[in-house]
């Protein structure tokens, strides 16, 4: 127990924790939306996020961000953000089509959808992990070595970005942390308004409440499900971009642990509840970072799960309860 370190660095620890929590929250949205509409755990969502991190990395390499600065660097980063969102959304839609649609239409048992998603998750992760071999089939591994090399180890874009820190009342704050937190909360507010006010959002909530009645009222269930996956994918893309800004490094299996954490965050806040995902993510991120400072880094993940078990014992449906369908219009 390192109380001195903990209390001396409390503000920094909190802000870093919030930044991690914001990323968890953005990924958690994908789980929570799909769960709200379909009541199933979209296990492959972590891979949707992983593809986003690679889209960011590849854009940064392709546009040579290491040599750019000023306006040009910002433009490159914006392109990277859109590339990340686009690839993640594409993967999410493909996932819905291949792994889920048939099962949803046949009203199959929910557990089997989980297995299908697990299979899809393996396929997606391994495709990325074997990309050097797959490029080899086309004789491209040398031309693309910047992109497909190091397929099984860490791929880094460290050094392309300066990350200035600034002092606020004696507390050193990383500019990246602030960007991450603000961007994540901004996206959440946007999404929350979208689901509450827009036509598509109303359709999503109606389907979540009662799919049959919703389809009788003219909501196309297949379309709604697609939109749900699309939004989850877009948010995962944003999360992936922010994650790369903060961490710089990715790997073909980076999604797994983050996915588990994000799902934990979704459950913590009350699965199916958008605001719950945000709250759950932030709480989890801060708790982890505090716990890490107190007990040492090796206990980080243990703290996350112990917290989850404790909260579920007191509030069995998460902090805010489940309510994608029940949110007021």
């Amino acid at each position: 127990m390192n109380f001195e370190f903990f209390f001396n660095n409390l503000p920094e620890l909190t802000i870093t924790g919030l930044a991690f929590g914001a990323i968890y929250a953005l990924i958690a949205l994908g789980y929570t939306m799909v769960y709200g509409v379909l009541q199933l755990i979209n296990f492959a969502h972590s891979e949707v996020f992983m593809y986003g991190t690679f889209a960011t990395l590849w854009t940064v390499i392709a546009l040579n961000a290491a040599d750019a600065n000023g306006i040009k660097l910002i433009a490159i980063l914006i392109v990277a953000l859109f590339a990340s969102m686009a690839l993640s959304a594409l993967i999410a839609l493909a996932l819905e089509r291949v792994a889920y649609r048939r099962l949803i239409e046949r009203d199959a048992p929910r557990l089997i959808a989980l297995i299908s998603a697990i299979g899809a998750s393996f396929v997606l992760a391994e495709l990325m992990g074997l990309r050097d071999r797959i490029a080899g089939w086309f004789g491209l591994e040398d031309d693309l070595s910047e992109y497909v090399g190091k397929a099984r180890i860490n791929n880094s874009m460290a050094g392309t970005l300066e990350k200035p820190r600034f002092d606020v009342a004696g507390v050193a704050i990383s500019s990246i942390d602030i960007i991450v937190i603000v961007a994540a909360i901004g996206m959440m507010v946007l999404l929350d308004q979208f689901v509450r006010r827009s036509r598509l959002g109303k359709g999503i909530r109606a389907t979540a409440q009662d799919p049959e009645t919703a389809s009788l009222m003219g909501v196309n269930p297949t379309r709604t499900i697609q939109v749900t996956f699309l939004i989850g994918g877009l948010m995962a893309g944003v999360a992936a971009f922010l994650y790369m800004l903060k961490i710089d490094t990715t790997k073909y299996d980076v999604g797994f642990l983050l996915g588990v954490k994000a799902f934990t965050a979704a459950v913590l806040g009350g699965i199916g509840n958008l605001r719950g995902a945000l709250l759950g993510g932030l709480v989890l991120g801060v708790a982890e970072n505090w716990g890490q400072a107190l007990f040492g880094g090796e206990w980080r993940d243990v703290i996350a799960f112990v917290l989850l078990v404790l909260i579920l014992l007191v509030r069995p449906t998460g902090l805010l309860g489940e309510s994608l369908g029940k949110a007021r219009a």
Binding site: P109, F122, V306, L308, P316, T317
Partner: protein, 381 residues
């Protein structure tokens, strides 16, 4: 429907014939590693070792089937109980004490069971999907604790775990059993590398397979007895409709806890046997991935049907070993196979008879309500 036909034929046979068939099947299973059949046998890996892994998966699948299939509780942290079994054996026989294995295994099983009760008592009150994530967290907590605690051997793990006691002389055992050797169209008896009955050594894995298979058969018989008892019916009632079961006088919470700890019992047993064969364990043997593989075995095979679950376990454990020539692409192929199996056979490879009957009944009702397909067509015209 084919399953049903097969089953009816089987139950139609006179009892002595049926028992004889079962005994023959068991004998064949015991002899499998000695026969070294072409096609089935795994090239490049020791067939006996692969078969041992298959029996461990079978045990785990049977245990998890009680939790997921019979009682309907989604458990994503089953590997935690498996780890508790393995670590208890490791600690008692090598790391902190010097017990014989036969004494350590019962303790390991009880430890797993107790941890099942400790985990279940507070968490089984939470609803389905929350239970999944809580159990997932439990599995990870167990593994990370093992990584971080020196008392549990941290990331390096535990070495020199006791082997089962030999029967007979250590050099040659009671007697030696030769393997078969399949040449180009001819069958030879390979007397140079016989299996010694019953020496648990380092190279020959066949005795371990026999041990695993014996455990599977015992658990299978226990499973048949429990399933057809009051307890089995209470589990199924709880799974189908908890409130209705409670109203009918089934104390659902108690039975869920019982299912959980029974499952943990079997998981602990499997972990203990695994640790003893392996000789050393470290936290990498208990990744979350294994919980997922175990669950895949149960669901792909057909949750709730013990034969389906066994088939699922055999597929999940055996296929990656058999197709080693795919090498790096094994996991990819396995994932694709999961997606295909799930979308093509959503009820599992061998669904429980009740599900099949319910499906048939539903279809018949639909036909009665809407008329046959042709009638509907005519009506539309």
């Amino acid at each position: 429907m084919k399953n049903l036909g097969f089953r009816d034929k089987l139950t139609g046979l006179p009892k002595p014939v049926r028992i004889l068939l079962w005994i023959l099947l068991a004998l064949f299973a015991y002899a499998l590693p000695l026969l070294e059949l072409p096609i089935i046998s795994t090239p490049g890996v020791d067939f006996g070792g692969v078969l041992f892994t298959v029996t461990i998966y079978c045990l785990v699948a049977l245990g998890l089937n009680i939790v997921v299939g019979y009682a309907g509780l989604l458990d994503l942290g089953y590997v935690g109980f498996y780890a508790i079994g393995a670590y208890t054996v490791g600690i008692l026989t090598s790391f902190h004490a010097n017990w014989p294995l036969l004494l350590a295994i019962p303790v390991a099983v009880v430890a797993a069971m107790v941890s099942g009760v400790i985990l279940g008592a507070p968490t089984l009150r939470v609803r389905g999907d929350y239970l999944a994530i809580v159990t997932l967290g439990f599995g990870e907590i167990i593994r990370l604790t093992a990584v971080n605690l020196e008392w549990l051997g941290d990331a390096r793990g535990i070495k020199n775990i006791a082997k089962p006691p030999n029967i007979g002389d250590e050099k040659s055992g009671l007697f030696e059993i030769p393997h078969l050797l399949w040449g180009n169209g001819t069958v030879l008896v390979d007397t140079e590398h016989p299996t010694k009955f019953l020496v648990f050594g380092y190279i020959d894995q066949v005795p371990y397979y026999w041990m695993g298979l014996t455990a599977v058969i015992i658990v299978l018989i226990a499973d048949i007895l429990i399933k057809s008892s009051r307890v089995g019916r209470a589990w199924e009632a709880t799974r189908e409709d908890e409130d209705a079961a409670e109203l009918m006088g089934v104390p659902t919470f108690k039975f869920k806890l019982l299912a959980f700890s029974t499952g943990a019992f079997v998981g602990g047993l499997a972990g203990g046997l695994y640790a003893s064969r392996q000789g050393f364990i470290n936290p990498l043997s208990f990744l979350l991935l294994y919980s997922i593989l175990f669950l895949a075995a149960v669901v792909v095979g057909g949750q709730g049907n013990r034969w389906g679950v066994l088939l699922g376990a055999i597929l999940v454990a055996y296929l990656p070993q058999r197709f080693r020539e795919f090498d790096d692409f094994r996991v990819l192929a396995f994932g694709a196979a999961l997606v295909l199996l799930a979308t093509l056979r959503p009820e599992g490879l061998i669904p429980p008879r009740r599900t099949v009957r319910a499906k048939q009944l539903e279809q018949e009702l639909d036909e009665l309500e809407q008329g046959t397909d042709e009638g509907e067509e005519a009506a539309r015209v």
